[in-house]
């Protein structure tokens, strides 16, 4: 009886969910701070995406493993400790082996702890689902976040610096719109992209 109440997620469903339907940035509107701050270059955005995926996957995994051990009354504190732990691991590893990336991402690495995506998935998914779907959910949400970050960063870096991943693509004839890399540009680009996503969603709805 309880089996039928719980929805069984297939891998395909999970990936579609994380990448499209409930995309952390464009669908759920979570993790905005980093989306605006770190998306000034594709390398930064991509690295941030990988870090979030790493933390999200591991925290989903362990919270799912411990879902019967962590009783509801202490769950928020427990989730925070687990997520903060993995974030610190990422922080230390980056500082040791990729110091320049650690410096450019700066404050936003430890701030992954309060990235709402991770706590939201812990609360709504990993604490209720078995290990395998939770793991896949973490990976797919992380991937959705990474893809969104790369899209935003690509627009900002390409039109704002004329480069992609640090390599100058648009020639001298192109005067980069430096505004796009500034904080102002972050707001405008994200707003524009969200409007675009909303428009695409409406188009799909009309078709159905």
């Amino acid at each position: 009886m309880s089996r039928r109440q719980k929805k069984d997620w297939s891998a395909r469903q999970l990936f579609r969910n994380g990448l499209l339907d409930q995309n952390p940035i464009f669908g759920q509107l979570l993790g905005m701070c980093s989306a605006l701050a770190v998306s000034t270059s594709v390398i930064n955005g991509f690295t941030m995406g990988l870090c979030v995926t790493f933390v999200l996957t591991l925290s989903n995994l362990f919270i799912s493993l411990l879902r019967r051990f962590i009783l509801p009354q202490i769950r928020i504190a427990a989730y925070i400790v687990i997520v903060a732990g993995f974030v610190t691991v990422v922080d230390l590893l980056l500082k040791a082996y990729f110091p320049s990336l650690a410096a450019s991402l700066g404050l936003f690495i430890p701030l992954i702890v309060v990235n709402c995506v991770i706590l939201a998935r812990a609360e709504s998914f990993a604490s209720k689902q078995p290990v395998a779907p939770s793991l896949l959910d973490g990976v797919s949400m992380g991937l959705g976040y990474t893809v969104a970050m790369v899209v935003i960063s690509s627009v900002r870096e390409l039109l704002g610096s004329g480069s992609f991943c640090g390599i100058r693509i648009l020639g001298d004839w192109f005067s980069p719109a430096m505004l796009l890399i500034s904080p102002v540009g972050g707001f405008l680009v994200l707003g524009g992209l969200m409007a675009g996503v909303s428009w695409l969603k409406n188009k799909r709805k009309k078709k159905e």
């Binding site: 509107l29 979570l30 905005m32 701070c33 605006l36 701050a37 928020i76 504190a77 925070i80 400790v81 903060a84 732990g85 974030v87 610190t88 922080d91 230390l92 404050l107 430890p110 701030l111 702890v113 309060v114 709402c116 706590l119 500034s182 904080p183 102002v184 540009g185 972050g186 707001f187 405008l188 994200l190 707003g191 524009g192 969200m194 409007a195 675009g196 909303s198 428009w199 409406n202």
Partner: protein
Amino acid sequence: MGNLLLLSLGAVLVENFVFVKFLGICPFLGVSQKLNTAVGMGLAVTFTMTISSALTWLLHRFVLVPLELEYLNTVAFILLIASLVQLIEMVLQKFLPSLYASLGIYLPLITTNCAVLGVALLNVQNGYDFVESMVYGFSAGIGFLLAIVLLSLVRERLIFSRIPKPFQGFPSALIAGGLLALAFSGFQGLQLA
């Protein structure tokens, strides 16, 4: 004294936490539809940031540094902030139930406000002393309050405009936020030190 004033002005205007540092964006966008919720959230966040700045500084200076446990910064700070917010919740529920009811779910969400943890970490990164940390925390909160109130004023009027369907809701809030950020970038030239 003058030094503190410069620090304070810097945090509110030149390096506004929302428009320049991108901290506190989620509540900035999520709670700015109406003026009174924006004010309530802004004040609650300022209060939390001031106290958490003080407490995290003390924790860092007297526990983490002597024991050489600085790598536990993030974990310790966020736990402290979560507990502080819980405490504030309980106190409000008991003594100011109307405020507690109007803030609703947004109160526990202060824990996940990047600005609160962000300012605690920045205090450590910038090497501020106890008074400077509290002033910085308070001013950063005021900056957040200013930002969220300004956006709510714009959004309250925005609902009367005819906005193309894809831009309705969040995208229009982001664009409005961007224009506010543009206005604030004028403060960059302010010679403070």
